[in-house]
């Protein structure tokens, strides 16, 4: 009997706790919805005025509304501005940045970079990235090592948007540091910094950690950094890491300078590394001259599919001489014929002949 009472009591307590949890969660959800609705109303209120200011046609009324919103909820104003800043450049971008700076939001964001809350640190970095604020580059670079990985990632993106070459070394270091950032993310930011990143990347190719050297080779190639060819050739010959050497071979092709052709030719004809041969074949399509045609015709008959396929694509890239060689191979039979036909078909899809009667 006593046991039954205890069991009933326990069940009652559990039921009560469950009901309280459900009610509390419903109340909480409702509060969140109301907050989100209020926020949306404020966003709709401020956006047209931000549009007016960004268009250079802002009037006192627009400034007054923006001031009122800034006083009520500076974070909301910053969020609305960040969304819009990402879509604009030129005078419109500068107008919005001046608007935010004039209301102390940039100074506040710089202070928030060291806030206790990771959310606050990330939001601050987002705003500084969207405004291209160069004064905070060093502070944002320190966040690459943030104990919260997502904050580090936001910092990396921000450094790309800020566009200062002083961020290159910290970004490269972040690839081999204690909180390693993803290579693709960092490479994207390095690319966003642009040609001013080339000199520090050349230094990185020679001296950074393994992932830093990989990223340096990759981004130098994508930037078309002709001035880095000697460094890429040296790393292609001597870097102890295979991935670095592969990226250097790829970069030489992307840059497209004939100086790379001898090293790529040597590797295509001598290395056992299939991936390296495939990359060299493709790169030779960008750096090779008429003498390369014969070499690539041989490479189309390589027993490895990747090498043969890339050699065929390289012949397309070489222009009329390469195309003529492909056309001959396509009808001539031999193991290279299917690759020649495939490359010719792809080229026709990329560059279809003009339709008859199409307007100019």
């Amino acid at each position: 009997m006593n046991l039954n009472l205890i069991a009933l009591g326990a069940l009652g307590a559990v039921m009560m706790a469950l009901v309280l949890t459900l009610v509390s969660s419903a109340v909480h959800r409702r509060r969140r919805q109301r907050r989100a609705q209020r926020r949306e109303v404020q966003m709709r209120r401020v956006r047209p005025h931000l549009v007016a200011m960004a268009s250079g046609e802002g009037e006192k009324e627009d400034e007054d509304v923006i001031d009122a919103v800034a006083a009520e909820d500076a974070d909301l104003l910053a969020e609305a501005a960040v969304e819009m800043l990402g879509k604009l450049r030129g005078e419109a971008h500068s107008e919005l940045v001046a608007l935010l700076a004039g209301r102390g939001l940039l100074a506040a964001a710089r202070r928030q970079l060291t806030a206790r809350s990771p959310d606050s640190r990330a939001r601050a970095a987002l705003l500084l990235g969207a405004t291209g604020d160069r004064d905070s580059v060093a502070d944002v670079a320190r966040m690459l090592d943030d104990p919260v990985p997502e904050v580090g990632r936001v910092a990396a993106r921000t450094l790309g948007k800020q566009g200062d070459s002083g961020a290159v070394a910290p970004l490269l270091a972040s690839l081999d540091g204690s909180h390693r950032l993803p290579l693709g993310l960092v490479a994207t930011s390095l690319l966003a910094i642009g040609r001013t990143a080339i000199e520090p990347l050349r230094a990185g190719l020679a001296s950074a950690g393994r992932n830093g050297r990989v990223a340096s080779a990759e981004v130098l190639g994508r930037l078309g950094a002709v001035e880095s060819i000697d460094g890429l050739l040296a790393a292609l010959a001597d870097d102890p890491d295979r991935e670095v050497r592969l990226r250097c071979a790829h970069a030489l092709g992307r840059i497209g300078a004939p100086k790379g052709a001898p090293a790529l030719t040597r590797l295509l004809t001598t290395t056992d590394d299939v991936v390296m041969r495939a990359i060299c074949a493709r790169s030779l399509g960008e750096v090779g001259g008429p003498a390369t045609v014969a070499l690539l015709v041989t490479a189309i008959n390589d027993s490895q599919h990747a090498v043969a396929g890339n050699a065929a694509e390289a012949l397309v890239a070489l222009g009329p001489a390469g195309m003529a060689a492909l056309e001959t191979m396509a009808v001539g039979g031999g193991s290279g014929a299917p690759y020649a036909r495939q490359a010719l078909a792809r080229e026709q899809l990329r560059n279809p002949p003009e339709r008859e009667g199409a307007s100019a």
Binding site: R47, S55, M84, L88, R89, G90, E91, A92
Partner: protein
């Protein structure tokens, strides 16, 4: 006063562009996807069309091609306004018959200059 159609699935872009063009004396109609854009062209016969490329239902490239294939809109100025910035994307845009190609993020001031220039070129 010219009538310009802006087709973009981003309401911020529609609002920014509309505001800038209206303040400069143009009339503006807006569409949020490719099908709506074609319907608006047929209903309102604008003097110029601004098209985003990545839109629901029909892309800006597809809309541009349809406009060029139709004799009644073959000469309508079409400006592509898009985040697709690679050389191949620009090439595809001009091959589809675009009059001009503006990459996002964009400058509203520059956009206005290009709109005015494109309208000026087709003025009688």
């Amino acid at each position: 006063m010219s009538l310009v159609l802006i087709a973009d699935d981003d309401p911020d872009i529609r609002e920014l562009v509309s505001f800038k063009l209206e303040r400069s004396g143009h009339q503006v109609v807006a569409a949020a996807d490719g099908d709506e854009a074609l319907a608006e062209v047929r209903a309102t016969t604008p003097d110029l069309v601004l098209l985003d490329i990545m839109m629901p239902r029909r892309t800006g490239i597809e809309v541009c091609r349809e406009l060029r294939d139709d004799p009644t809109t073959a000469n309508l100025p079409v400006i592509l306004l898009t985040a697709k910035a690679q050389e191949a994307d620009v090439e595809r845009g001009f091959q589809a018959g675009a009059t001009d190609y503006i990459v996002k993020p964009f400058s509203p001031r520059e956009l206005l200059m290009r709109v005015n220039t494109a309208l000026g070129r087709t003025a009688p």
